[in-house]
Symmetry: C2
Subunit: 149 residues, 2 copies
Amino acid sequence: MTRWLDPDEQQTWRDFLAAGQLINEALDRQLQREAGMPHTYYMILVALSEAPGRSMRMSELAARAQSSQSRLSHAVARLEERGWVRRERCPADGRGNIAVLTDEGFATLAATAPGHVEEVRRSLFDVLTREQVRELGAICSAVRDTLER
Amino acid sequence: MTRWLDPDEQQTWRDFLAAGQLINEALDRQLQREAGMPHTYYMILVALSEAPGRSMRMSELAARAQSSQSRLSHAVARLEERGWVRRERCPADGRGNIAVLTDEGFATLAATAPGHVEEVRRSLFDVLTREQVRELGAICSAVRDTLER
DNA sequence: TCAGAGTACATGAGAGTTCAACTAAAATGA
DNA sequence: TCATTTTAGTTGAACTCTCATGTACTCTGA
């Protein structure tokens, strides 16, 4: 038997979907405007910028940037065209590729980060109380732990 | 001055993004598998199914299904090809179009809903305590109220 | 009553995503 | 050692989304 959502759950679910979408749209619009890239590309640059040598194997990068391999592959191809990332063959594993954040890529990131953080605050943190932020953290981390296997 | 995220906020933000994406991916995969449509299309069918006469003006439908007008227009075109939705001219306003859920569309929805709800529970509600669900509801509704203007 | 502004929706191009191949290089193991 | 399997990554096609633009209709006010 299907366990349908009761009215409260329905409401929560719809608010959850709406909130998530509103935030993602705000992020995408802001980054598209300021840096001409979608949020998924931004996450890739961030992940690279935090890696030692600002470089990472493609598959690890996909995991860190929450991207599928295929998506990452296409995305890095675009980022490479813009000169923000470069690909090198992996010496240790002939199958591997290493994505490297270029200086230009890093500069773009540095220039874009403040506006992005501002948008993140505006759309999420400024809306919530400290307590709610804490709760949200616990909730999302629980979801993540469960769904990430 | 940029108000950077402190480490806790960083963690919350990343968990938030990851959780949202995991849930959306789970939804999309499930619906693609079971009904051959993305979640956005499903939301359109749901909105229509709840409207009087299972029909709605395009612009109102866009609002209810959290879609841009353009996206909705493309989506309804596809749904029409599959015979799940039909478009009629609006008698009261020559500019308007009315989207109508067909019987086939309704049947598809009815057939798909149980599996979808199951997925929603698996990815969100079953993961959280009652209390967390309550908190999440308040949080998302606050975000929604703020970002929807 | 009619010109101009605004609204409703569609459409086409460009960009991103997904999915299913496909290539090439390890790893496995008999 | 060699055939098989697994892993890493890319690619192309089909699809969706966004953005800008276009078309048709309605509303407004002089």
